[in-house]
Symmetry: C2
Subunit: 167 residues, 2 copies
DNA sequence: GGACTATAGACGTTTCAACAACTATTGTCT
DNA sequence: AGACAATAGTTGTTGAAACGTCTATAGTCC
């Protein structure tokens, strides 16, 4: 009687279904992140920086206060100042203080930043295809919905990531 | 005629379904990670370190070579040496070189490490409940399956994270 | 069995992230 | 108007991650 991998054994590595889900989430994120990072390192960018540029692009030619930008990033960024320092050094963004309120620093994407995004756009698209191109549209939609449901209680009510109840 | 949020508008923030899925994955991981980190900082641990201790626990009272441990962690860790330095300083693990092969360093969890895990176990369980306790078992299983499918092509064939085809 | 290669880890350095403390500016309250 | 509080960033510091290089040991092949 050799022991076969029966489905009742399946969860032995995990303490609970919640844990299994979380560790799978972590692992999956980590694996897919590798694909994305491969692309960005070639341009000396972090995913987070790319994300910031993308956000600034959406308001271009307008601007955005430093902190507002930080709050809208996917992953929380407590050190916007230095991140913007690096982007500004490379002329990817511009900063200015306006006389109306000299506390806030308004940030805008610079021409070089727009050009970089342009240059990257097709590669990023291909990267996402390499990451998840093997999944069907139906699977992806289902995954997205479940992920939203999973994090929803952890999002603030008004956040762009928060989704309201269906009913 | 006020514009309602019709479902056709839903994807405007994303370039593709793959991108939407990946960014949702990232965001969800980031949000849930916050919950876990809250717990671990109280014990001056990183999630990665906790993970390493858990792995060592599974082989206790046996040992594991440094690199093997690094490869089995959820997220890749290129600097096991110093991570183990820190754990050893706190007497959570022990290391030794054996005469059979003086290249490899065998790592074992130490009594203090076992005790720490014991101390943490219920809190970790509660943490996972706080993270995902609002999801039904069915949803969690579905999520797990989709996550596995999503990362599967990015796992090595023999990895503990790789799942074979169903058929 | 000596040269060559492969393996396992350690170490030096640079860069980033996180946290706290600090500065400058504006708003509020009496 | 002056004192106090709140807002928006900045800066210092410490710890950890990433990367490549370096050392020690073991296996392989004339």
């Amino acid at each position: 009687m050799t022991a076969t991998r029966s489905s009742t054994v399946r969860h032995t590595r995990f303490d609970s279904l919640q844990q299994e889900a979380y560790l799978n989430l972590w692992r999956t994120y980590d694996r897919l992140k590798v694909v994305e990072d491969e692309l960005f390192v070639k341009y000396d960018l972090s995913a987070q920086q790319y994300n910031a540029l993308r956000l600034l692009e959406t308001v271009h030619p307008g601007t955005m206060p430093t902190l507002a930008l930080g709050q809208r990033l996917i992953s929380r960024a407590p050190d916007m100042t230095r991140m913007l320092d690096r982007l500004e050094e490379r002329s990817l963004v511009q900063r200015e203080r306006r006389p109306e309120n000299r506390r806030v620093v308004e940030v805008a994407i610079a021409p070089a930043g727009l050009q970089l995004l342009e240059e990257l756009s097709s590669q990023v698209r291909e990267g996402h295809k390499r990451q998840l191109g093997h999944m069907t549209a139906h699977e992806l939609k289902q995954l997205i919905e479940l992920l939203q449901a999973a994090r929803n209680p952890h999002e603030e009510e008004g956040s762009r990531w928060h989704s309201k109840e269906k009913s």
